[in-house]
Amino acid sequence: MTGPARGPEPLIFELSSPGRTAFSLPELDVPERKLQEMLPASALREAAPGLPEVSEVDLVRHFVRLSRLNYGVDLGIYPLGSCTMKYSPKINEDLARLPGFTELHPYQPEDTVQGALELMYLTQRFLCEIGGVDAVSLQPAAGAHGELTGLMLIKAYHTSRGDTRRNKIIIPDSSHGTNPASAVVCGMQTVQVRSDRRGGVDLDALREVLDDQVSALMLTNPNTLGLFDENIHRIAEMVHQAGGMLYYDGANANAILGIARPGDAGFDVVHFNLHKTFSTPHGGGGPGSGPVGVKKALEPFLPVPIVGFDGARYYLDYDRPRSIGRVRSFYGNFGVVLKAYAYIRSMGPEGLLQVSKDAVLNANYLMRRLQPYFDLPYDRHCKHEFVLSGRRQKAESGVKTLDISKRLLDYGVHPPTNYFPLIVEECLMVEPTESESRETLDAFADALIQIAREAKDQPDLVKSAPHVTPVGRLDEVLAARQPNLRWRPPAPGGS
């Protein structure tokens, strides 16, 4: 992973020396006017902002050294469940940097951006086909932004029918944290339903909460346990009968490409995470892209603008009187969308299908290899991810899932998602993705199996991990009790 410890890297501010710069600016070539002639004194800043002063070489070394303290998909398996940390193709990075894409101002005339609009239009159509929906907006900037947009569309739909009492969003207890949070940002209340023994939505529990105040049910399918909800048809029927809508959280769509389309299963709104399913890099936490697709009935409410085509030219369609409006500026994360477009074009229909098949194969393979060593709460075929429980290790030797994860860092691999979903005790949520070879999966499994042995034989070794990372286990309690959220210059005179 990140190699032997290299010790902490100073902050860039600690490397600063007055008078240095890493920037090259032209000299002023217009007649200079006094600042006070142009701006009122009251508008002016008294002291320059305290930005660090470093030379270009020091700047580059600092950030390159920081990069070496970090783990990424290009260094090895990154099996974070529900995050789909697949490989990001290099050619797409290169193509996204063509000046014909990067050097476009969003307010350029439409006639000068026909290539960009065509790419967006085609991406809208491709996502319609993949999701089984009728229209797509590329505007949301991330998955959670897509969720919020989708819930707003549902709210607008109900309101347009005079059905204004529907303020409840039903959310399974296995859902992503963004689902309830998005519901609240959309001004709704959340109602949680429990999962049944097979890991699906408990139909009796669902029946109890369905009434005429239900706006929608949000569902991830396969869910965060990696399980496909076999009752999806029944669920759709029940929710629709109650007058609610069905929302598909596309975080786990990597399992279903060309295999099952949310729109066909009764979902009315679908969001995609282009940074998960469609291979665009996660960027250390973004930028992502979270397009939203809808069935016909919801199309009038999509955010403005949508990219349209009149048979001769592509255009930004603002003439949508029932639209919810905007959810951000401009047209979405175009630079991300174009990498996803390139990915879809290079994979084609058979490639995308193979992606899902291999992703599911990889998850099942890892699950069966690890089953003898960890508790497997749901013993059935998983889809693209699965959950293990470390409760056996915790009971036997006091080794917690967090310890196991930290110990994995010593083996040079990134741990799975910890303690999520919340319904599984000491949960490890593993999503290998289709990118990993059998050898990589075996090495990962071997590391976890070895750690399971260590948990028995040398529990303290696991509990005190990690041992070879640039820093040891960090004190989160201290970070919470005494928040230190920015650097401050040392007091003058002090040292």
Partner: protein, 448 residues
């Protein structure tokens, strides 16, 4: 395509054997027949890399990029030079192929860079605390409105009409979902908020006033007076700013802003037809626990070495679910890294000089435009790098006539303000030379 899929058929067979099934299809047997998709997706056939490169090159060539134009376009995002160091650092795949730093010990690079970013944003804005990034300026403004309303338990968000129209539209969308009211303050003849009508718009109990400074027309708002008026009614002041302007303009904290935010695109982010960019978002100490999204904090490891973690996570959706302060999860981390590198490259003197260049060139251009017959500056308020021009010619003719001469100007204000349909914006960065400005003004004069 298969180069992204490592398995050979032999691998697959061996793995199926370990699993104990005969075929991959068996693994999908739990998907009910009625929801199985029984045909191939109707998508174009796969392209090889050379074919893909050619195809994408063709699409790119159907755009007229700013490489072949002189860009005077404004409206919140600007054609600044992006230093090579920025692209090189964000191209380090240890950064760009990582995700949210949940495992701090393997993510010190991202976490420390976020901590540095937060410090830079605090230095620029004068605020106490910054978070790690929002999607863009508009959504940052909308979330700020919700936070103010929730903090004070009030339902009225006030915005000047001179706030970026796309910010206002985004604020209205978010506010609609919460049944919050958005009240607009018209602008006066100076192109700034009409103070005589601000008090009425604020009403007795405003949640906040979201003011853009410089505003959409490039003009400086009377922010100090506006801040006094909203604070006098117990409301909060939210300032949306152009980060480059903060090289010369008073930081928002100095005129009493409770939240400072803005579009981070000018900080080393390419224009890319509208995104990805980043929203910066900083608050005073008292609002820190209301802050949306990720925040990095410094702490110690067991040996007493400094390290960085995600801090105050009890505000966030993955911990607090429906009680979170926002639903934001993925943000714009890589763009925030670009902004960090950009600001560190500029340094304390660099940003002052850069802001000065934008300011001087814009003022030079305004003087030249003021001499034209058919074009006049639309407003007289002090401005930073951008100003509105009023024309006696129809916008379509101005836009296309100048484009034919390689000059990109706008946006047209008529697009957002029917009463300003004869106006458009001109914006300036360090990239524009006197020669280019003179050429533009000459072409404007020559339009028929």
């Amino acid at each position: 395509m298969m180069k992204y899929l490592p398995h050979t058929d032999r691998d697959r067979e061996a793995m199926l054997k370990t699993i104990g099934v005969k075929s991959v299809d068996e693994l999908f047997s739990d998907i009910p027949a009625q929801v199985r998709f029984n045909r191939a997706l109707d998508l174009p056939r796969p392209l090889s890399d050379p074919e893909l490169a050619r195809h994408m090159g063709e699409l790119a060539s159907r755009n007229r990029s700013l490489d072949g134009l002189t860009c005077f376009l404004g409206g919140g995002v600007y054609d600044h030079f992006v230093p090579s160091v920025v692209e090189h650092i964000v191209s380090r795949s240890e950064f760009y192929t990582a995700y949210t730093p949940y495992q701090a010990e393997a993510s010190q690079g991202v976490l420390q860079s976020i901590y540095e970013y937060q410090t830079l944003i605090c230095e620029l804005t004068g605020m106490d605390v910054s978070q790690a990034s929002m999607y863009d300026g508009a959504s940052a403004a909308a979330e700020a409105g919700l936070i103010c309303a929730a903090t004070l338990g009030r339902g009225r968000i006030v915005v000047p009409a001179s706030l970026h129209p796309e910010y206002r539209q985004t604020i209205k969308t978010y506010a609609w979902a919460h049944d919050l009211e958005v009240a607009e303050v018209p602008f006066g003849p100076q192109g700034t908020a009409d103070l005589s009508r601000l008090e009425a718009a604020l009403g007795p109990e405003p949640a906040c006033l979201i003011v853009q400074h410089p505003n959409f027309f490039g003009a400086l708002e009377p922010v100090e007076e506006m801040g006094r008026l909203v604070h006098a009614r117990g409301g909060l002041l939210v300032a949306a700013c152009d980060p480059i302007s903060l090289g010369v303009l008073k930081p928002p904290a100095a005129y009493g802003a409770d939240i400072a935010l803005g579009e981070g695109q000018p900080l080393g982010i390419r224009l890319s037809f509208g995104g990805p960019y980043l929203g910066f978002f900083a608050t005073s100490e008292k609002l820190v626990r209301r802050m949306p999204g990720r925040i990095a904090g410094a702490t110690l490891d067991h040996q007493g070495r400094r390290g960085f973690v995600l801090a105050l996570q009890t505000r966030e959706q993955h911990i607090r679910r429906e009680k979170a302060t926002s639903n934001i999860c993925s943000n714009e981390a890589l763009c925030a890294l670009a902004a960090t590198v950009y600001l560190c490259a500029l340094g304390r003197r660099g940003i002052v000089k850069l802001a000065g260049l934008c300011l001087q060139k814009a003022h030079y251009a305004r003087d030249q435009v003021a001499r034209l017959e058919r074009f006049k500056p639309a407003f007289d308020a002090p401005f930073f790098r951008e100003f509105a021009v009023r024309s006696t010619l129809p916008w379509e003719r101005v836009e296309s006539g100048l484009l034919q001469q390689g000059q990109a100007v706008g946006p047209s204000l008529g697009r957002f303000y029917p009463e300003l349909k004869d106006c458009f914006l001109l914006a300036f960065t360090e990239k524009r030379t006197r020669e280019e400005i003179d050429y533009l003004v000459g072409r404007m004069e020559g339009l028929i």
